[in-house]
Symmetry: C2
Subunit: 109 residues, 2 copies
């Protein structure tokens, strides 16, 4: 026990949950907002931006990379990160599909 029983659910349900999990930490939200705000590659200053230890920041970046929503490229001694716009749009579309069209009058409890 302790591990999520993914086999009980559809691929789509697991996919949505996995995307949500990637967003389920304020540091990762902060990283994504920073990259979106800069609207470009950001090299090196993410550790200063967050206030977390370098190892912790690196770990959050790794999770976002594994989720596919950001990408990094080595630029000399440092690494440049940016949003992966294709995956970003996939996230947006999946969440939009999930949230769309709930009748306000559903409230019957």
């Amino acid at each position: 026990m302790g591990a999520t029983k993914t086999d009980l659910f559809t691929k789509q349900q697991n996919d949505i949950a996995a995307m949500a999990k990637a967003l389920a930490h304020p540091a990762r939200i902060a990283i994504l907002q920073y990259l979106v705000k800069k609207n470009a590659c950001v090299c090196g200053d993410l550790v200063d931006e967050l206030g977390l230890a370098q190892a912790t920041t690196s770990q959050h970046l790794k999770e976002l990379k594994i989720a596919g929503i950001i990408q990094g490229s080595i630029e000399g001694a440092s690494v440049c990160y940016c949003i992966n716009p294709k995956v970003w749009k996939q996230y947006r579309d999946l969440f939009n599909a999930f949230f769309k069209d709930v009748d306000i009058n559903t409230n019957c409890c």
Copy 2:
């Protein structure tokens, strides 16, 4: 160490992360999709629907209730659940705001 350092981040960042966390499990996605599909109060059959133990299902329902996205009302011996449309729309709007307007050409890495 081990606990999220929420004080390092803005209220908005913590709010988005908290919402994402509520959605970050396939069982909770399945519950929400089922309630949306039924588009009404659902009494009692959620345990059969999920395939998880009754205690586990109850725990996921509790998390969704704490997040505010569903509400339950006692109906005799059983409990009826439905989407809280107000909170649902808040989620939708916050995610929409988060995902909107990322230029496809940001990709520069």
